[in-house]
Structure formats: structure tokens, C-alpha cells
Subunit: 294 residues, 2 copies
């Protein structure tokens, strides 16, 4: 029998890398071998013990067990470790357009299409807010007929999909820009909230004495023919936790000062009783890359 070569502390990383030698996709090979390098680098640099490793494996197991169709704890973890923010910042190679921002775990694709100036608030609690602005192309021209999926929290900081027993969508829907490229919707001021604290990520945040808060924001996913889709968030400037967001979301270009409107005529024109808050934000898209669908 020929002598066999078994893994040693010194060569295990190279051995694992080599198992990807036959990977048919060069990109997948690059991603997996770099992942192995950093995973092993993490364990080596920390001198990770078996007990700590077991805690980590159990952390991921419990993250899986608490996740379901309405909650992805791994998305929360990626946000809390700043991986989401880093990926979004790297996506922003085109600095002309509006910065991209965290998608978050609460997006729903199949929601109703709303009319211009739709009223999302009804008679429910919350500070009335007019949300409006334009969708613009790279050269600043307005884009009519752009599709905007908008979602935000209700008055208590929860998304509709987080409210047990609620069987309708609230504070979300598809908008379309008018012939002048304008979108407009009546809603409430979004409210900040914490990362979910009943799962392993919440446990990590407590154990490390980190702030669990996100600043208030409205999510947007925007699609327009001939342009790259844009996923982003807009933050009212007066929301707390802009600088210590647990998900590292805010960018200077996404923070906008809300304006208090007391003019009754302006209120009448948009169908809101004064006083209300007005948040205006123009989105700038970039042209679609040939062959790209991202």
C-alpha cells in the first residue's frame, strides 16, 4: 500500500482549496477558494476552539430555525455585520446615480399598483406625510412610466408582514411616475425600529452591547425601461440613529430633510389636512448595461 497524505494543520487550507480545482465555473472557483481562505484565516487568527466553533455552528442552526417566508435571519446577520452595506457600496461604482441601499428582508414583489397620490394612511395612526419626487435618467431628464415598489413601517415601527393576523398589505405598493416623471403618495412618516431581538442576531447584539436600532426610512425598488433597476432607501434627516444604524445603511445622498407644511392651499391641492410633513426625493437612474439584468 502506498503511503497516503492526510491533512495537517499546515496544509489543510491548501487541501480544501485544491478540491475546487475541477470547478467548471472559474468565478465560482474564485469565490469558493477565497471564502475558504478567509474562513480558515478567521479560525487561525482567533485560534478558534472547538467549543467556540460549536457555538458558531449552533448560532447558524438557530438562525435557520427562526427563519421563515416572512423572516430571513441571515439577511439580518449580513446587515448587522455590515456585509450588506459593503456589497451595496461596491455596487455603487457609478457615482452619478442615486446610491443603492439595503433591500432588507421585507420586500414583496406581488403588491397592488396604486394610483397617483394614493392614500396609504387611511384613518390609522401616524404623522401624515406627503412623499413625492421625480425619477430621472442619467442626463437629468424625467422618466415617465417608471415603476416604483415602495415599502415602509407603520406607526409602531413594524412592517405589515410582521403584524400577526394582518391579511392585507399596508404602506406598500407599486407606483408609476406621471408624464412629468413625478411620483406622489400620501403616507405616514416612517418609524425606526430594532433588528429582531428574539433570535440569535439579537442575542449577538445584546452580548456585544451594540445598538440594535435602525433609523426610520422608506424603501424603494425602481424599474424603468432602458435603465438599471435601483434598490435604495431614503432617510428623513430628523430620524435618530442615522450615525449608528445597526445595518450601516445611511449615505449622505439618501438623507433628506422633511419639511413641515402649514399652508392650507398646498394641503388642499394634495388632499391632506395641515400640518403635515413633506419628504421630497428625486432618484437618478443609470442606463442599462448591454446584456446586464442586475
Amino acid at each position: 500500500m502506498t503511503p497516503m497524505a492526510y491533512a495537517t494543520r499546515e496544509d489543510i487550507t491548501a487541501r480544501v482549496r485544491a478540491t475546487f480545482d475541477a470547478c467548471p465555473s472559474q468565478r465560482l472557483k474564485e469565490v469558493m477558494t477565497t471564502l475558504v481562505d478567509h474562513l480558515h484565516g478567521f479560525a487561525r487568527e482567533t485560534g478558534l476552539t472547538r467549543q467556540e466553533w460549536l457555538l458558531g455552528v449552533d448560532f447558524l442552526f438557530r438562525a435557520g430555525q427562526i427563519s421563515d417566508a416572512a423572516r430571513n435571519e441571515f439577511m439580518v446577520l449580513s446587515d448587522a455585520l455590515g456585509l450588506t452595506a459593503l456589497v451595496e457600496l461596491m455596487e455603487d461604482a457609478d457615482e452619478e446615480r442615486t446610491p443603492t441601499n439595503n433591500l432588507g428582508p421585507f420586500y414583496v414583489e406581488e403588491v397592488p399598483t396604486l394610483p397617483f397620490n394614493a392614500d396609504l394612511r387611511g384613518d390609522r395612526p401616524g404623522t401624515p406625510m406627503l412623499l413625492r419626487g421625480r425619477v430621472l435618467g442619467a442626463d437629468g431628464e424625467p422618466i415617465p412610466g417608471a415603476s416604483i415598489n415602495l415599502w415602509q413601517t407603520q406607526h409602531d415601527g413594524r412592517y405589515d408582514v410582521q403584524v400577526p393576523g394582518l391579511d392585507e398589505y399596508r404602506y406598500r405598493g407599486w407606483l408609476r411616475t406621471d408624464p412629468q416623471g413625478v411620483y406622489q403618495v400620501r403616507t405616514i412618516k416612517p418609524v425606526g425600529y430594532t433588528a429582531p431581538m428574539d433570535g440569535p442576531v439579537g442575542q449577538m447584539l445584546r452580548a456585544t452591547a451594540r445598538s440594535p436600532w435602525r433609523p426610520a426610512h422608506v424603501h424603494f425598488l425602481i424599474r424603468a425601461a432602458g435603465h438599471r433597476p435601483l434598490i435604495t432607501e431614503v432617510y428623513p434627516q430628523d430620524t435618530p440613529h442615522l450615525e449608528d444604524d445597526v445595518a450601516f445603511g445611511p449615505r449622505a445622498a439618501l438623507v433628506v430633510a422633511p419639511v413641515e407644511v402649514r399652508d392650507r392651499d398646498e394641503g388642499a391641492r394634495v388632499g391632506l389636512s395641515v400640518p403635515f410633513v413633506k419628504l421630497e426625493f428625486d432618484f437618478k437612474l443609470s442606463p442599462a448595461e448591454p446584456g446586464s439584468e442586475r
Copy 2:
């Protein structure tokens, strides 16, 4: 309003690290900040796109959904990325004792205690095997009364807990060493198997053209008063995939040549019909570290 500092591509990693500044445990802080460094390093070096990141988050989500009390896909993932093997190799600072090895996902603590030379095989299929050896202390003296939790596959490469509807434990149990420090059990030769191929780790192994096989092995968890517990695996030398184990388990000191026994007298002494296979392995423990429980 004072100008605020938001995350940039350049400073996001330092910002995330800084959120752990107030962590009350220095060790947890070290582990988390090193994790952030390597997670971000992985994303930066690969230029990870949002689409790839989403695939990764979804991979972990699906790993969570397919996991349950009898299956921890994150353990399988750790094995397949060689993290488990690296941690075990780092645990082996004491090179005098038997090397530690992967615990794996199939350990059960609460199993029956078996008599000396128990028959685990009954009349079920499989190559009859006598498994015996000694448990020794650091200076080579036999340890009587050591507890050994042993578990292995049945003839088809599955563990008992993987067989749907099976309501008893098979090929596992607690053994105790006799006054000479000897353990002995009649079982079958363990059979190799693949990592589970119906989940995301299986999908990764297929996509990267990796071998999914583990070599045949018997698991042992050994406890003896005054000694560090030992978790390890023993591999018959004639099992395939010792060199390309998907979990990177085999070590030279854990691979042992099985002996074919044709001597009827020897068979009669242990209650086995010839021919059968004999696998002998002596375990060497190290003294318990004061105050340590690992």
C-alpha cells in the same frame, strides 16, 4: 445641524469593527472583529456582487430550512469547507494523545449502555467485525471504567437516525472499559457514504464538481475521570476516499489496517463465526487541564 459621517466603501469595515468597542467580553470582541475583517475581506477580494451576495444569503436560508433535530446542514457545510478539520487540528496541540476528529452531525448522548463484547449486529446484513482495543492514559497505563460512546453506519452507509421510521438505536451505545482498560464490541464493518446531496451543500458539491464521499469510519467519544474527553474517528485502512474525504477527516494516526480472522478458536472466544474482520485501536488520553471542561 452638524454634518454627519456616513459609511463609505473605504471606512465601512472600520465602522463595523468599532461597533464592537463596548463589548464586555474581550474574547467575543476579538472573535467578532476578526470575523468582520475576513467577511469583508472575502467580499472585497472577490468583488462580490449584490446578486452573488443574495445567492449566498439564500444558500444559508435554505440550509436552515432543511435542518432539523436530526440534520444540521451547517455542520455539513463546515465539514465540506474544511473548517471542522482545521479546528480539530488546532485542538491537537497535545501531540501525545490520539488526534481529535470530527464529531459530525449524528452523535446521540442518551443511548443505552452495552455489556462487554455486546453484539450490535444481530442477524442484519454487513461484514461481521470485532472492534476492540484499550483506553490508555498519558503514560500508557490502561484506564479501567472509561466511558466510550461509539456510533457508526449500518450496512448501507446510513446512520440509524437517518432511517425513516426506525424507532430504535442501532450500531451505537455506551461501552465501558474492563479492569484491563479494554473495550470490545461485535459489530459490522462501517460503510462510507456521501454528504447529504438533497440540500444546498450537495448543490455546492455538484456545482463545483467535488467528490461528496466520506471514507468508512467509527465515531468515538471517550470520557474518563481525570482526563480530557476525546472525540475522534477511526478509519479502516482499506476504505475508499481516505485521501479525498469531503470532510477532510483522516489522520495517519487514526487509520488502522483491519485483520481478517479465520482461526475458529479465536472466533469461538469472541462469539463470532469465521471469517470476520478485526479492527484494533488503542486510544491515548491526556490529563484534564485544571479548571478545563472541554
